[in-house]
Symmetry: C2
């Protein structure tokens, strides 16, 4: 596969089912040949949030714009442009936009086939 170079805003924005005011762009994925992990760009409208949930895979997050909170079962953290967040697998977590503008962040996840590899 060749390199892929694109502005994130050119990638199709998808609504996230059953989540009001939350969209995702899969900017780098298996479809591009990425062998190990995927990059998504999320946008949360003011007052909106991701589900409070846990799963085996980790998140590696970089906040691009906005103001919000990352809640986890272990604590709550304020996030803003420039915040980096590592959310380990199996930890309950939720992102909340409690600012007045959009909360935009990058969130990377391993491909599903990596489940169990690191254990």
């Amino acid at each position: 596969m060749p390199a892929k170079v694109v502005h994130y805003s050119e990638v199709r924005e998808e609504a996230v089912p059953d989540l009001e005011g939350v969209t995702v762009r899969w900017v780098i994925s298996k479809d591009d040949g990425a062998p190990h992990f995927a990059m998504r760009v999320f946008e949360l409208q003011p007052g909106c949030r991701t589900p409070q949930h846990a799963h085996w895979w980790e998140h590696e997050v970089f906040v691009l714009e906005g103001q919000g909170w990352l809640w986890t079962e272990e604590g709550e953290y304020r996030v803003q442009a420039g915040t980096v967040a590592y959310v380990p697998g199996d930890l309950e977590h939720q992102f909340r936009n409690q600012g007045e503008g959009v909360l935009r962040f990058i969130c990377l996840v391993p491909h599903p086939e990596l489940e169990g590899w690191a254990n």
Copy 2:
């Protein structure tokens, strides 16, 4: 391991050996418990560049600030804030800051132990 939430600028900035005007911050790494891949933040001063090289691992890049070029053996691409770049493994590549300010980008890489996993 717990979650890690930090502003990227709080992470130690390291000079990259033998590369003038290039620094790296390992903002999420194995030291944080990340099981599969690492997130680094690079800064290139005006006129500076990364090596022209290739390696087995891929890059997943998001440009935060600045103006520059991603050169690859297959073509050259203008990059700026919001540009996403996927550089496959084994492709010769180089980032160049040809703007007037800093070129800052996130670059994610798989852990070395994943070599060969996807083949």
